[in-house]
């Protein structure tokens, strides 16, 4: 793990939505970072603007893929980075999705909004070794059709047929022919053997709370539901305390945690 940002060059930049971009980053010099596992995050440094924690959405050798939504000064600068520009990268930070625990089980991936990028490397790992897993479902909810990221990938995953892909939006436009409603409704309709299922959820905290409840209503064991938390990670090493959630420092004890271990903490309004 690097304590100082390592320079990475923007190799490719792709618009996902009107405010969200996917950056492919390659090491700009001789320094490299340890391998990132799905679920971990990097601190991306837009020089002159600051750092932001961004989950890894894909890796290929030393190349990192991140999907960033422009919501503030730092992420706006990152989204504006053009191919050839250099950004700083620290990491990998935090805990990873429990890939080993998925083997031989049905897998339900539930993503809300920009929660899909952290789950994307899990899906890619599953597809790379598909026979190791049972039924696999990707359930994805977004605000509008225009807010869906990875549109081409979603279509590819859907047509490939190796996993079941269900997408819903809260507010459709006139072009949308798919499901309308909250992502929790997709849980009710998904095909899986609840007693042999592991679920990974990533999205807004309230969405994860209701999704976990829907999964438990379907019979998924509390210790088989994992979530990825987001709480103001700043230093990435558990020292600054900005991401503290009760006894946890989300940057190092998370972001991926078993839901039943944090369920009570997430109900405390002051945390």
């Amino acid at each position: 793990m690097a304590d100082v940002p390592i320079p990475f060059r923007v190799a490719d930049r792709r618009a996902e939505t009107h405010d969200t971009w996917t950056l492919r980053l390659e090491p700009a010099g001789g320094d490299a970072l340890p391998a990132f596992a799905p679920g971990q995050f990097a601190m991306l440094y837009a020089f002159g603007a600051g750092e932001a924690p961004i989950s890894v959405a894909g890796t290929a050798g030393a190349t990192l893929t991140h999907t960033v939504r422009s919501v503030g000064a730092v992420t706006r600068a990152l989204c504006a980075a053009a191919p050839g520009d250099v950004v700083g990268v620290r990491g990998p930070f935090g805990t990873a999705w429990p890939l080993a625990a998925l083997a031989g089980r049905d897998v339900v991936l539930v993503a809300g909004g920009l929660g899909l990028p952290p789950l994307r490397p899990v899906l890619e790992a599953i597809l790379a070794d598909r026979d190791r897993y049972g039924l696999v479902s990707l359930l994805y909810g977004a605000r509008t059709p225009a807010d869906l990221v990875y549109a081409a990938d979603l279509e590819s995953w859907r047509t490939d047929g190796a996993v079941t892909v269900a997408v819903t939006v809260d507010a459709p436009d006139e072009t949308w022919a798919g499901s309308v409603g909250v992502v929790t409704r997709l849980v009710e309709r998904a095909a899986f053997d609840a007693g042999n299922t592991v679920a990974l959820i990533c999205g807004p905290e309230v969405m994860m709370r209701f999704t976990a409840a829907a999964l438990r209503d379907r019979g998924v064991a509390p210790d088989a539901i994992w979530v990825s938390l987001e709480r103001g990670m700043t230093c990435g090493t558990g020292h600054c305390g900005h991401c503290q959630l009760g006894r946890l420092f989300v940057c190092k004890d998370g972001p991926v945690v078993r839901h039943d271990t944090v369920e009570a903490l997430l109900r405390v309004a002051e945390l």
Binding site: L114, A142, D170, A171, S179, V180, V182, R189, P204, V206
Partner: protein
Amino acid sequence: MLRRGTVAIETHVPGRGPVRLETLHDGDVLGWSWLVPPYRTSFDARALRTTRVVSVDGACLRARCETDPALGYALLRLLAAVWVSRLEDARLRLLDMYGKGPHG
């Protein structure tokens, strides 16, 4: 009751045409205006693909429930669960939870 298919709940908005509010799928319950006075539907329903439903005569079922409270109570328990679920969905959507938050 939708046995199989997809139905959109819509309403017409002047200047926008039919606005889709929700889609219903296999096993979902469609409509309860038959149960509550003045028995007037509030929204439109449009089948988006070939859809098979079980349709019940509302007036007949109301009369049965009046004469058979056990049936009425069982039916209301089932419908109440649907209403609670739909209300919860509507509240979640009011939150606009995919706004500008970290994972929005």
